[in-house]
Symmetry: C2
Subunit: 715 residues, 2 copies
């Protein structure tokens, strides 16, 4: 157990604000504690002599050896009560009282003071504005909810107290038990990261479930969840996913509206199974708590009903599981055991007249197959089949093989007792077989998370000082947007760029073009298609004030040697006409990059307020905005992560030689992403950066254009 | 009522093969009929005197005025029994007996004979291999399932009898009733189209639900469903969606494996709400049966719990519904009615201490708002709220406003009675608010279907004879694959193509190039980017034996005038080297098309065995295969459908002027799709056709290359 061992496993709990007034929160908590708690309950209320049969004390300091103080006094005296508790040596406090950060400026001030008090005394504080906490292991129900949870191995935290009440009520009806339950309240001190860490060390917790509207400290959460999720699955609904939802969350708990894309990437990298619905949260939580992980992806479906068998097969097709392919031996065993009309291939159809013995034998054969990692038992009610007997057989066989099983015994009242037996044994049951398959797929997904190997991001040898100088010189020019003039920033970090230079005179442009074309002619653009040519260059206006260069005719592609001088003049004239007061730094003369043999991609970064720099990779060019085929990672990005980013975009086959093209140099793209990650991690001043296009060719990746925004304060 | 009025509403039903043998199908059906049927039940079994208290007759012909014969005799005597019934004037037959098409060649022969018999006597035959039929309106349960359905307004057909049994069992537990239920069996005579048509005319059926593994006659189904779905929602699980599922369906019912893409397009065009899971099938069916259609898309959420309110808002964000924006008047009314801490904007949070009166008042105010088309009532259990009283209030308000409402009263046993009251009043209830929103979204989707206006496809003035001649001349060459030599086929149907001709001599190539470039130079390719030029042409080898011209260097782009002759020789030489025995029809010399200002799209067709020609549109070029950004329609395609096809592709914004580009001439693309549809409808011999690329530019669309496959038998 971790730092919160005493909070969840106290020997003596004091209710500060205990009362027997009907309908009051103080009464509800005192009564809930008295109901099942194995330890002592102490009532504190100076206006009472006795509360629900307990002697009432004037102050929490008056009673020795109190481990946890549950505070339900009115808001103005909460801080005094906590200070008294802290002085008495109590380190664990649950603040039920509302009227803090969620309600106006006075509440916000009170919450700040609570945070300071906690820091001063090193307190573990749950809340304020919390429904309370539960630990079914010691019968602790320090909440004011109407029901105590059943015992189980799921620990659950929720940023909504009402949701805790609803879930406990619902779960009690479904044999779903909890180990710890926490209503997070305003998360003034303890937040989701603390409970993830705590439950990760708790042998009684098999699964962590959470309902969150925000994450207080993005990096802390990712770090602790990544560590914990290796051994303990974490399933989370992070609400406020949609624009409307985010605004509802802000109005509900004042949740910080960190970008959804950042949450998506962060939760994924943290090994959290993110779900969108209450149904998935508890479906996944139940199966993770009740069933072992599958050793392989093949699923066997054993059924007495062909039609539902087809639907279940479709559900497997929709998932990342696969329909197990049986060994010849298994098929023979099915042939021996089943009637002629049966289907001895997967999905195994044992035919509608099957009694329980045939069902059990078929499931036994399926589970024994070395290609089967999990099974769905799927039945329709018939005159020959006893659902209860089937449930017993399934429970026995699941235990024998220790292979995950999900059950769909279709029907209403006729299935109720059987479903009860199955769920008591930890085998989840659903009317809809698609849910059974989804749940098994969650087991597979968590197995993959638990097997992830995290590699440390590489640190490349770069010219950090040169990069700093470029950023600082921009700052000296009082510029916070940089364009092609920042190509040298990429050079400093070893990101390949085409040969090019920025010139501010016609004659220099001609000279630059001659040098570029002469020196490196063989690698230039063009080909046998009659377009472009080895002697041509690209020219772009360079101005921090002109963001969309091509829109004003500020870019010329395929300029032949004899036109370089005139083009220089043209570009400058156009820029001046477009924006007379624009600062024009010059014209960039750049080697032509062969777009025809390459794929335009984008590599970029933006900085999230909660999670820091996020590195982006995707299909570039005009497709970025329209098709949004991009993926994100929190920096720093390891080589493995960079490779995964390429895997994740829909256009990945284009990079890998679709349609008879030569595959691009993927290693060069991977290294570019890593170096970009290092650059933006090294310089918090870089707020946003886009390399678009990053042209990926069989000979390597090249950053053809760049745009970035800097925050001068950070330099 | 339609042609099947007597089948579902008989006055006298005979069970041919009635028996009282325990555990037999004949006994189960006789007993089920005797239980509730309002009409007469007649037993037919020459080996018995009496069956379950009924006099047993020797033959069905011996009893007058039988309307429906339910046949359960052994397979070899089924046909004789049906002939006897037909001779006696019976037109409606339900064949329970199995051992037909689903079991070997003898069964297949028997099924063919059954079909012939039905045609001879004009019989309506359900099955064979059916569980039977139900009509709760007259207490008719002519199935051998263990339970009769409750009364309701849903009519349900299923290609799996076991699924019928499971669904009835489950639905009886949940206040879900049915009007008609049909187990389709082998669909030898009556199939899904017949029942769709019948139920479309049945005033007692509000919703049609189906579980289908295939559709017997694709066109008939689309036609009848399109007609019926204007007034009666049709919700279908069509299984075998995935590769694994399709193979499971083939093994289960011998379902024909029509392409999933064709089913997807066909069901959509037929106005069928296609769902993937059992849960959605009955969630959508229940709400469509119980609630009115929303008049607008705005949803109001009224809740006593902020957290679940946020989750529900996310679900609205995921749907095609929107969060209703309240009028100022509504906000004021909320401000007057609710405590200060309440959220008076949507989602309306009436705060955890709300009694039922506050809940009812808030719902009343929300439903009165002119922007609200539907409402979610969302509650967590509290000490102050009676769920039963809330349910009563919701039922009353829903009825008063006649606005659709879905409810999520979270909790287990505490919500049971309230949920019962709500569902009895037709208001669906769910633990997961996301399901409530999904169901309301299904109402919205059906409203959109019911409002669809189908326009007739236009018929263009084309040169059908010229097209026929081109196809026939290919057939005479014994060729079934055509390439650019078929560009004239497109010309004949008025589909724009670049200027070009096919030549078979070097000198003709030079002449052709001069004509093309000289005559139409201003519209040619190239521009100020230094690539290409007005004087260049494209040259392609023309050979029915070379499918991938560019892979063998058989395409030259941007050929300048002085190189046309040499290029001609090169192309021919390359083709000969690649495939010495290839038939080479010549070389196509074609005007350059300006790809830079255009978007490469694809327009194509393939012919589905069940649904006929399907027209495809999508993003073209190398993106077709990789990004699969395409959409399909059954031909003929109307102007409106063609426009929708453009809307549906992800890359649509590229055609509409994303990133400062000029929008392409969309009308030209639309017309090309319609003309293509007309071409492939006119000529069943065209099995497959791809125009790739169809280059869409601001000045119109042009078919730059074409490839097609013909079936000579069809000419």
């Amino acid at each position: 157990m971790g730092e919160l061992a005493t909070l969840f496993g106290p020997k003596r709990v004091a209710v500060v604000g205990a009362t027997d007034r009907e309908g009051s929160v103080g009464r509800a908590i005192t009564a809930n504690l008295l109901a099942d708690f194995e330890g002592d309950v102490v009532a504190v209320n100076p206006t009472k002599d006795e509360v629900l049969g307990l002697e009432s004390h004037d102050g929490v300091g008056a009673v020795p050896d109190v481990d946890v103080a549950v505070v339900v006094v009115p808001p103005p005296i909460v801080l005094d009560a906590i200070r008294e508790a802290a002085e008495a040596g109590i380190r664990d406090v649950v603040v039920i009282t509302a009227g803090f950060g969620e309600s106006g400026s006075e509440g916000a001030r009170r919450e700040r003071e609570l945070r300071e008090l906690a820091a001063e005394y090193d307190l573990n504080v749950v809340g304020p504005n919390s429904l309370g906490i539960m630990n079914t292991g010691v019968g602790l129900n320090a909440t004011f909810g109407p029901e105590n949870a059943r015992k189980g191995s799921i620990s659950f935290m929720s940023q909504s107290g009402a949701f805790v009440t609803a879930v406990v009520d619902w779960a009690n009806d479904r044999n779903l038990g909890f180990h710890n339950v926490v209503s997070l309240g305003n998360k003034a001190v303890l937040d989701e990261s603390d409970f993830v860490r705590e439950w990760g060390e708790d042998p009684e917790t098999d699964v962590i479930l959470g309902y969150l509207e925000d994450v207080v400290d993005g990096r802390a959460f990712v770090d602790s969840a990544r560590e914990v999720s290796r051994d303990t699955p974490i399933v989370v609904v992070k609400s406020g996913r949609t624009e409307a939802g985010a605004s509802a969350a802000a109005s509900h708990t004042g949740a910080i509206a960190g970008s959804e894309e950042a949450y998506e990437a962060a939760l994924d990298q943290a090994g959290v199974l993110r779900v969108d619905t209450v149904q998935d949260l508890f479906d996944f939580g139940s199966i993770l708590a009740g069933q072992p992980l599958p050793e392989r992806d093949g699923v066997a479906i054993v059924t007495n009903a062909g039609g539902p068998g087809v639907m279940t097969t479709d559900a497997v097709g929709d998932s990342d599981l696969s329909l197990a392919s049986f060994t010849d031996d298994t098929v023979e065993r099915f042939q021996d055991a089943l009637p002629d009309e049966a289907n001895v291939y997967n999905p195994v159809d044992i035919i509608g007249d099957a009694p329980v013995e045939r069902f059990a034998e078929a499931l036994d054969i399926a589970l024994a197959d070395p290609n089967v990692g999990a099974a769905v038992v799927l039945a329709c009610p018939t005159a020959t089949l006893s659902y209860e007997a089937l449930a017993d057989a399934v429970v026995d066989l699941q235990a024998e093989y220790d292979t995950p099983v999900a059950a769909t015994l279709m029907g209403g009242s006729s299935a109720r007792d059987a479903n009860e037996r199955l769920s008591q044994a930890g085998i989840p049951t659903y009317f809809d077989p698609a849910r059974a398959v989804r749940s098994l797929d969650a087991l597979r997904e968590y197995r993959a998370i638990s097997e992830r190997e995290y590699t440390e991001p590489e640190t490349f040898d770069v010219d950090r000082e040169a990069a700093r100088e470029i950023l600082e010189s921009a700052a000296r020019r009082d510029t916070n947007r940089l364009g092609v003039e920042a190509m040298s920033l990429l050079d400093a970090y070893g990101i390949p760029t085409p040969d090019g230079e920025i010139v501010d005179a016609r004659s220099d442009a001609v000279e630059a073009a001659e040098r570029i074309v002469g020196g490196d002619g063989e690698d230039g653009g063009g080909g046998d298609d009659g377009r472009g040519g080895d002697s041509e260059v690209v020219m772009k206006i360079v101005s921090p004030d002109i963001l969309h260069k091509s829109d004003i005719g500020g870019v010329a592609v395929g300029v032949p040697p004899e036109e370089v001088g005139d083009t220089y003049e043209d570009l400058v004239t156009r820029a001046r006409n477009y924006q007379p007061d624009a600062t024009i730094l010059g014209v960039q003369v750049q080697e032509m990059v062969d777009l025809d043999s390459g794929v335009e991609t984008i590599a970029g970064m933006n900085r999230d307020p909660q999670f820091g720099p996020l590195v982006l990779f995707g299909l570039g060019g005009i497709f970025v905005e329209v098709l949004e085929d991009t993926t994100l990672r929190l920096a720093p990005v390891s080589e493995q992560s960079a490779r995964e980013m390429i895997d994740e975009i829909d256009a990945a086959p284009l990079l890998r030689g679709a349609r008879g093209r030569d595959p691009v140099d993927e290693a060069s793209v991977v290294e570019t992403l890593q170096r970009l990650s290092q650059l933006v991690t090294d310089f918090p001043a870089i707020v946003e950066l886009d390399i678009n296009p990053l042209v990926a060719t069989p000979d390597g990746a090249q950053a053809v254009d760049v745009r970035l925004t800097i925050d001068q304060e950070q330099l």
